[in-house]
Amino acid sequence: MNSATVRTLLVRGMLAGLGAGLLALVAAYLLGEPRVDSAIALEEGHSHAHGGGHEVEVVSRGLQSTAGLATGVLLYGVAFGGIVALAFCFALGRVGRFGPRATAALLAGAGLLAVYVVPFLKYPANPPAVGDPDTIGKRTALYGLMMLLGVLLAVAAVILGKRLAPRLGNWYASVIAAAGFILAVGLAYAFLPAVNEVPAGFPGTLLWQFRLASLAIQVVLWTAFGLLFGHLAERHLDPLSRPVRSSAGSVPVSSG
């Protein structure tokens, strides 16, 4: 029953996304939160220097940095887990001769690249204190557009590769598709407006460390997802595949 298979894979994708989200949450808490706290301290220091009044805290820092962080990261993991599971259903058996695990790993790698790295290189993650609230709408639209372009161009590259493979062979088709992807992304970078709203005096070291932490969180998330979902998908689609156990001892050779 194909529909039941899709449903099962979708559920497993979301569960794998949740598991990956938990690991990413650990990375976020250990690597990311110290930088967020430092940036907020700078932001508040700047606010005090300009006689800014104390704002009433809607959510305390204690909650923001723990339960709030968990909510964001876990929901992100579940959401992308579901989306990539659906992409997996389309891709399995249609992209080369890869089995479930390899397909999941490739999709996770593609997801990390298209969903995060491509937008990140043009509009990198910013800590609190960076970014003008008046331009949030434009920046969100640009970031969303870059995400969408990353995904669409990645899909286009895969389709191009498939079209070229019968004529050029898998290797050259893949190289040309990748080159096309890079060229198209480069054009998007060139034509979309730049954004730089880092306030004067914001420490470059902190900005760099924050962005590295953000990248690390995403790498943990997508890697863990690829491995977890690959395992769960394989278990469902090919339940007979197990590590081959060799028979105990050597086979006795009968003397002639």
Partner: protein, 72 residues
Amino acid sequence: MAQSVAPPTTGADTPAALPIRAILPWAVFFGVLMLVLLYFVGAEQGATSVFSGTDVHEWVHDGRHLLGFPCH
């Protein structure tokens, strides 16, 4: 003299593709649902607002920054 040879491990065949018709309903419904989830994590009460106030924004504040979304 009998000589036993280990049977060759067969490489896995390419898995059968799932029919597009079976995938589409799930993809449309859950795809939209997952995108709504991402919207709330990444953009609600920032660039746009479905609900008034700043509670959602403040709650996912740290996650939003660290996941790379523009936050404020």
